[in-house]
Symmetry: C3
Subunit: 202 residues, 3 copies
């Protein structure tokens, strides 16, 4: 179980980093830009959550191997043929990204509850963990956050529904299942949204 | 007195939220975008101040009814006829917004003094509380902050003058009056700026 | 030695503030905009670092003379003939800016080590201190951060190399030299980059 979560975490962290790298490379940023955007996309959500909850140390401080690995990925991204790579990679990261969305949401809700937040705020902490990194990525690229646009397939909404699933599990006493349920619901809903083009009606 | 301040606070919070909602709806954001912008507009200033002063818990954590109410407002905004609604609402929120500007400034200065900040920094804390939410709103909408533009009627300046009023009251020993004086000066100056189109000469 | 560092610090703070003022004046911001941009450019990097490391009080809280002086500079900037002034000033601030880049990096690395950060994270703290202010300046001006663009002469890279110099000095036991070495390497590399138009190959 713990091993499974660790594998999801590693894959999701790499998927988030790659999504940042792709966004930055599309704009022809140099290495500084690519690395900064990858870093902010990956760790931005968790860092903002930890600042809000006044938690230290950050995940990327405890595991400095991640930011170092990410520097390697950012440098490596300049040595692969661009056009094919991007289309293929975007498809390949879809699944780890969806599971990462779910897992990061679960982690955020768990930290929110641990800090005795009210339920709605704990759910928000999950959503913030999962989605603020992507918003900061878009702000750094001087664009309106992708998740604000009507044509965007459900993303933040999946995190919110997953967070509610987490809270329901703990309410019903199934604490041990909460992370799995939240990750599963969020990932399934996200993959469904991508597959069938679900968007918010409003 | 406390009741009066509570009423101003509630009205001002709603006014700030509506100003965020209007800005986001104008750009045709979906519910996620509208809610995020409303949230950041309303709570952004106070949250940044609390992070700077290392204060916890945040206002919206202590009063989770506000972020929940705001979700209701954001959803509701999709079910009202747009064009008329916006013009009318913008006018209607002008007065609570002006008083909110004053009250939020006063709260920020008070927290700054409580944290033993130097006077100039305490005044800045008031100004930050009142104006950073609007700046973050504009950044999220991918625009230059409205308050930076020369054609914008006095806004941040009113907060700064009100903050100076607050500090003068406490200096003269009229602590009990400081909140009222700051709120009054700021609101009067802001409403005058809107009515007579006052802008900064430089 | 301490006196030399103080002089560098004062000159660098003014140079960073002026670079923010020039950027804001180019966009015809009013005083609020010019002051906010100058403030964020100068103190943004150190403040973000202190929030990440959970350090208080901030530099500009301990030395409120700086933010006050900056208000004077911002106001004064409206009373000098614009066109000539900018070209001349940009050249004049190049040298204090380069030394400031180095000194701020050194301070950031030192605080990172003091907080027992892993080496790579300590280096990042130095880089963040030196470069995040400029990124926030560009975000406030609704532009892609200058340092992300390929045509930009080495800036963040100089800070990173200087930070590595700092760490090497402390590793070799030359703690007393670390600040000087870091400031010197960073400033020399930055001035070389400006003089010979060095940019990142990737």
């Amino acid at each position: 179980m713990q091993t499974l979560l660790s594998i999801i975490e590693i894959c999701a962290t790499i998927a988030f980093a790659i999504s940042g790298i792709i966004t930055a490379r599309r704009r022809s940023f140099d290495l500084i830009g690519v690395y900064t955007v990858a870093f902010v996309t990956t760790f931005g959500g968790g860092t903002v959550r930890d600042i809000l909850l006044d938690r230290r140390p950050f995940y990327w401080v405890q595991q400095p191997i991640y930011p170092m690995l990410m520097l390697g990925l950012a440098i490596g991204s300049f040595f692969v043929a661009k056009a094919d790579w991007v289309a293929l990679t975007e498809k390949a990261i879809m699944i780890p990204d969806a599971f990462g969305l779910g897992l990061f949401t679960a982690v955020g809700v768990a930290y929110g509850l641990e800090a005795s937040m009210p339920l709605f705020i704990a759910a928000l902490m999950g959503v913030i963990t999962a989605s603020v990194g992507g918003m900061l990525r878009d702000i750094l690229c001087n664009e309106i956050p992708l998740v604000f646009q009507r044509s965007t397939q459900l993303y933040v909404t999946c995190a919110f529904v997953g967070a509610c699933g987490y809270l329901l599990c703990t309410y019903l006493g199934f604490d041990a299942l909460a992370v799995l349920v939240c990750t599963g619901i969020t990932a399934a809903m996200r993959l469904g949204a991508v597959r069938y083009d679900w968007t918010l009606p409003i």
